[in-house]
């Protein structure tokens, strides 16, 4: 049985933990809102880019090096994780998802520290890694990662590039998904009608394709970021609640302890008083 003093110290330290987890929850909630706004802000661009892609896909003769499929000997997996922990099973989910689909020859492009250490511990080949992408998320990071992937694909180092990340389904749910980034999957085109292509469909495709790849990476980064904050928010919410439960439990024990010590003292006094009276 712990002493009264020990119990008091434990309650004090758990109260501290509780205020930290509570603060982290609030911070994660604010970041999540911002991340959701960023997803919404990217939507008009996504729709327009999609329309351009559809217009061009309706031209049959068009082809681009990044659209050509070849036999897959080796795949690069871009795995998005967070740099920091305390976000529940968020990182494990995307890493496991990637790890299960992997064959021994495949390489990893790790975005986020957690993913890098996951695959390093399992002796997978890490082609490149990126840190601190999410702290100040900007489109430039998406371009850097996308260009890295494109170069590896074009040089023949890898025959396919997959993108594995957690999608933000809702605050309570993040779903790990894997999408093929390269080669770009062919798309059903809509009839273009009378459309002027300036200067030519070929040049337009040349302009479009790298931007399409950049944007796919950007979208994944945004989703993953929102998902991370949501996961952290929930993990910290649980931690705060658990700390509350523990404090309640300890307080009860503390009261019991105090009461029994008072009872003991009383018995002593009564015993002493009786001895004097006799």
């Amino acid at each position: 049985m712990a002493t009264l003093r020990q119990l008091r110290t434990r309650v004090a330290s758990i109260t501290n933990i509780q205020s930290v987890t509570n603060a982290m929850q609030l911070v994660a909630a604010a970041r999540m809102r911002r991340a959701q706004e960023a997803i919404a802000a990217a939507r008009p661009y996504a729709q327009q880019l999609d329309r351009v892609l559809q217009r061009l896909s309706s031209m049959e003769s068009l082809s681009h090096p990044l659209m050509i499929e070849r036999a897959v000997d080796r795949t690069a997996l871009i795995v998005l994780t967070s740099d920091r922990g305390l976000c529940g099973s968020f990182n494990t989910n995307s890493c496991r998802h990637a790890f299960n689909d992997m064959s021994p020859d495949d390489g990893i492009l790790a975005v986020g520290r957690k993913g890098r250490s996951f695959f390093r511990n399992r002796n997978c080949e890490i082609l490149n890694d990126y840190e601190d992408v999410f702290r100040d998320l900007s489109f430039a990071s998406a371009i850097t990662i996308a260009e890295d992937a494109v170069n590896r694909f074009l040089s023949g180092d890898v025959d396919r590039v997959m993108l594995i990340y957690n999608t933000f389904v809702s605050v309570a749910q993040q779903q790990p998904v894997s999408e093929q980034l390269l080669p770009i999957a062919p798309r059903e085109g809509e009839a273009a009608g009378v459309y002027l292509f300036e200067p030519s469909p070929e040049v337009l495709l040349e302009t479009l394709v790298p931007r399409h790849v950049n944007f796919q990476v950007w979208r994944a980064l945004l989703e993953s970021n929102a998902g991370e904050q949501a996961a952290r928010m929930r993990a910290m919410d649980n931690a705060t609640k658990n700390a509350g439960d523990v404090i309640e439990e300890l307080t009860r024990e503390m009261n019991k302890e105090r009461q029994s010590s008072i009872t003991l003292e009383l018995m002593d006094i009564i015993g002493g008083a009786e001895a004097v009276a006799q």
């Binding site: 960023a38 008009p44 661009y45 880019l49 459309y195 300036e198 944007f215």
Partner: protein
């Protein structure tokens, strides 16, 4: 004068959305202008300056880093990976970027990606021009 809807969008935000009379965009083969009721058009844009006149006659310019102009019956959209109005441009940063790119091009060490450095230089120049300082 007839007006039409123009949206300028980037992956990070919608930079502009409004009724305009006319816009001018840097096509890869040269600058071109678009008025209301233009034929449907899909054009590739280079690094350069987009200018437009709003319905109330205000003229505005912004720098873009290349992208597309998509003109259809229900209005026009300009897609760019980056777009900034002249008064939003961070002049110090643009100058620093220009100097950095220039330095890389001057040195020409083997690890310098000339194409990328030239593109960076072009973007920096454009941003300085649109901001009106040089």
């Amino acid at each position: 004068m007839a007006t039409f809807q123009l949206d300028i969008v980037t992956p990070e935000k919608t930079v502009y959305s409004g009724e305009i009379e006319h816009f001018q965009a840097p096509g890869v083969d040269g600058s071109f202008g678009v008025l209301a009721r233009h034929q449907p058009l899909l054009a590739a844009l280079g690094i350069g300056r987009v200018g437009f006149r709003e319905a109330d006659g205000t003229e505005r310019t912004l720098a873009i880093s290349g992208g597309f102009a998509n003109v259809s019956g229900d209005g026009a959209t300009i897609l760019a990976e980056a777009a900034e109005f002249g008064d939003e441009i961070d002049i110090e940063r643009a100058r620093a970027a220009r100097d950095r790119a220039q330095e890389r091009l001057d040195k020409r060490t083997p690890d310098v990606d000339v194409e990328r450095a030239q593109a960076a230089l072009g973007r920096a120049f454009m941003r300085l021009r649109v901001s009106g300082v040089e």
